[in-house]
């Protein structure tokens, strides 16, 4: 039962938000306890995460059903477009914080710590040359930085190709070519999953062979936080693509109306672009 106000679809009262908030309460307190090595924390986290997954599943399911039953007119569709655009913008800003930290360390704080620098007035670390990649002057655990032209270059190829297949799926959808849509979408999912596999392999390689860890000073912090958050976003994006694939199989979307598909495609291109930034500034330079 909705609040039928004019033509714009205003959904009926819903329990999903409070379920989501309950999940977040469990997860927030659970995470805080976990960080401080308190056993209850893991349980709280697990409970919270389960509730959150349940809530997301139900909520998005409801949205998909509402959409398929024709409740969303063009104005609602436009709202979704604005909403998704600005959500992606906030994600961009989140990555900006970490890229900003990378640039700041490389161009400002590390040069300030070197022997030639006069900013600090004296030289605490007279032997520190500040050459990137570095773990900083106070760490004495040598590591090998991650090269750009092996796996990372292959990963770049994977993601760029997945951007193409994603667009091909979109074109197929617009041409009402359903089998093309499903196949290209599946190809995109496979490429995304392969990327994640390569990324996982790279992490193992870094820890086991290169002695490159999250604790490896400035380089380790920025390398793992940037690639880690990107990998998390690719994971979310892949899950979203899988959901969309199932919706396509179930016969959802028409050549004219398919915002669910487009929103996920936008998101996929966003993780693609972030990767290009990563490849240039984290791996290459």
């Amino acid at each position: 039962m909705s609040q039928e106000s004019g033509h714009y679809y205003v959904p009926a009262p819903s329990t999903y938000p409070i379920i989501g908030s309950t999940a977040i309460l469990f997860m927030g307190s659970g995470a805080a306890l976990t960080m401080n090595k308190m056993e209850t924390g893991y349980w709280l986290l697990a409970i919270g995460f389960t509730i959150l997954v349940y809530m997301l599943f139900k909520w998005f399911g409801t949205v998909a059903r509402e959409s398929e039953s024709g409740k969303y007119d063009t104005q609602v569709d436009k709202s979704f477009r604005w909403g998704m655009s600005w959500f992606i913008f906030t994600e961009v800003m989140f990555f900006c914080a970490f890229f900003g930290a990378l640039f700041y360390m490389r161009n400002l704080s590390i040069p300030w710590l070197t022997e030639e620098s006069t900013v600090l007035g004296n030289s605490f670390w007279s032997t520190f040359d500040g050459k990137w990649p570095t773990a900083g002057p106070g760490t004495h655990d040598p590591f090998t930085p991650m090269g750009a032209w092996g796996l990372p270059a292959f990963n770049t190829l994977l993601l760029l190709t997945s951007g193409v297949t994603c667009t091909l799926a979109h074109w197929a959808l617009k041409a009402n070519n359903r089998s093309g849509l499903k196949n290209w979408l599946l190809a995109t999912i496979v490429l995304g999953a392969t990327f994640l596999g390569c990324q996982a392999y790279e992490y193992v390689h870094a820890y086991q062979d290169l002695n490159l860890m999250l604790t490896s000073g400035a380089y380790g912090s920025t390398f793992f936080m940037l690639t880690g958050f990107h990998g998390f976003h690719v994971t979310v994006g892949t899950i979203m693509l899988i959901v969309i694939w199932f919706r396509c199989v179930a016969g959802h979307f028409t050549p004219e109306k398919h915002f669910g598909f487009e929103g996920v495609a936008w998101y996929w291109h966003f993780v693609d672009v972030v990767w290009l930034g990563l490849f240039v500034f984290v791996y290459l330079m």
């Binding site: 900013v119 900083g136 604790t215």
Partner: protein
């Protein structure tokens, strides 16, 4: 029921909505959610205010009387966090929820269910934040700006604060995306952007600031978390990081944040001054451009919070001049408000009193802001009570007075009843007097060198501190009067008319009955 009476009672389907607590928990109605935001922020205002009373009680006399230094630090930290994230910001979002759909002729917010979630995340965040007082090691005590290395130390309380900030950020982002989408997509036909009420304009620009900077705050607290628990070196010089970098990233969020808390206040005042001057707002388009200019400039001035943290002279000069530049569009606004009043048929009901009080005191805070922007002076007054006085003039007599003004202005529309005008005026005058007693003397304390966030002080500061504490107790008690006025209005106020203020021109007064119906505009009005 609906089948029998459906035609007669257009809103019959409302009866199928859950009642009691479930109505509030599950609601997708912008007015219900707006009310919850406002009550939540008032509750947080009381909590944050109680902490402030504790701080002022300790500072009543030199020496340590009530609060041990550790607890005192927790009080100042949580006072700041709760007032900023729990009281002021949610209150403005509450106003946006109530007013934006009514002022643009929309049925509701664009994403009604998400609107509910962005509210219900707030009690969760508040629970984490306040419960941190009761965990081993106590709450975060490194100041509301939680600079490392203080914040990389500390225990569970700091982690609770970090996750609380994450949740508050998520709530703000959802709220602001909702507001942007509502304003851009749901205006009544004919309401072009340049015909929107100023309050709607200021919220549109504020929402843009929020989506720009809240993710950056989420990023920086995440770095803090990984530095604390996972061995990263973002703020650790031994690993090549820099604690000053935290300040840069934090204030990239933090400076636009202060405008997030004042731009909607400008919007409220820009609605009230024309109504009670019975003249249209002077220089409407220049108001819009000034608001946008302030928002853009606010993104390039952050380092004026860090003049003593070490930065090249060129950086100091840039941030000094950029900061002073903000005075220009702000001056345009003050000029326009004054020019709106010029030769108007003015009356001085409570909303107008608070709005005029806002202009006077906000200008004081604005001027002390320009003074703080001057590098050589700032180096002297950094972290003294001068800064405390400055930002309380813009946040209490700025943001908070505008919130009071807005509550009195729209209460008749929201509740259908009038508040008690005599008591409202008493609330204004008591607030005005006690506010200045509390904070004006803090300028002198700061110039004389009294540092902030310290529970004890030199005997030379004793007199002014006692004056300030007396003012603070008075100000705190006065707010109980405000609570009484609002409750009294809801329960037994006189019936208000549709256009309670004869000078009002916005849609909620001209097109909607009083009290505003549960669903604002079933059919959008046509704007000529």
């Amino acid at each position: 029921m609906a089948a029998v009476h459906g035609d007669v009672h257009g809103h019959e389907h409302d009866e199928h909505h859950p009642s009691g607590m479930m109505r509030w928990i599950t609601t997708t109605n912008h007015k219900d959610i707006g009310s919850m935001y406002l009550w939540f922020s008032f509750a947080m205002f009381m909590v944050g205010g109680t902490l402030a009373m504790g701080i002022r009680a300790e500072l009543f006399q030199p020496g340590i009387q009530i609060l041990e230094p550790e607890l005192f630090n927790q009080f100042t930290t949580l006072h700041g966090l709760i007032m900023v994230f729990g009281a002021i910001m949610p209150a403005f979002v509450g106003f946006a929820n109530w007013q934006v759909p009514m002022m643009i002729g929309a049925p509701d917010m664009a994403f009604a269910r998400m609107n509910n979630w962005s509210f219900w995340l707030l009690p969760v965040a508040a629970t984490l934040l306040i419960s941190s007082f009761f965990v081993p090691g106590g709450a975060a005590a490194g100041g509301w700006t939680f600079y490392p290395p203080l914040s990389t130390q500390g225990g569970l309380g700091v982690d609770l604060m970090i996750f609380s900030v994450h949740i508050l950020g998520a709530s703000s982002i959802m709220g602001s995306i909702n507001i942007i989408t509502t304003i851009l997509n749901m205006r009544a036909p004919g309401m072009t952007l340049m015909k929107m009420p100023m309050f709607v304009w200021t919220w549109l620009i504020t929402a843009y600031l929020l989506v720009l900077v809240m993710p950056v705050l989420a990023g920086v607290v995440t770095m803090l978390l990984t530095d604390r628990h996972f061995g990263t070196s973002f703020f650790n010089a031994a690993g090549g990081g820099d604690p000053v970098m935290f300040q840069h990233i934090f204030w990239f969020f933090g400076h636009p944040e202060v405008y997030i808390m004042i731009l909607p206040a400008f919007g409220i005042v820009s609605e009230i001054i024309p109504t009670f001057s019975r003249k249209p707002l002077f220089g409407y388009s220049s108001m819009v451009y000034a608001t946008a200019s302030i928002a853009i400039l606010s993104c390039v001035v952050w380092a004026h919070h860090m003049f003593t943290a070490g930065m090249p002279t060129v950086g100091q000069l840039f941030f000094m001049y950029a900061t002073m530049l903000i005075a220009v569009p702000t001056g345009v606004k003050v000029f326009n408000w004054t020019a709106t009043m010029w030769r108007g048929s003015m009356t001085f009901e409570t909303p107008m009193l608070f709005a005029i009080g806002f202009i006077f005191l906000f200008v004081v805070g604005g001027f002390s802001g320009v003074i703080c922007a001057i590098v050589p002076i700032d180096i002297q007054v950094q972290d003294t009570y001068y800064v405390i006085a400055h930002f309380h003039y813009v946040l209490v007599s700025g943001a908070l007075f505008a919130l009071f003004a807005g509550v009195y202005y729209w209460l008749p529309k929201w509740t259908g009843r009038m508040y008690n005008e005599t008591l409202g005026k008493a609330h204004f005058w008591l607030s005005m007097i006690f506010f200045n007693v509390t904070f004006f003397v803090q300028h002198f304390l700061g110039l004389a060198g009294m540092p902030r966030r310290i529970p004890d002080y030199n005997i030379q500061f004793a007199d002014f501190n006692m004056v300030s504490s007396i003012g603070a107790f008075g100000f705190g008690l006065t707010q109980l009067l405000f609570f009484y006025i609002v409750i009294n209005c809801i329960r037994s106020g006189e019936k208000a008319s549709q256009k309670q203020w004869d000078g009002a021109t916005t849609l909620e007064w001209t097109h909607l009955p009083t009290p505003a119906p549960y669903h604002s505009f079933e059919k959008p009005p046509i704007i000529k």
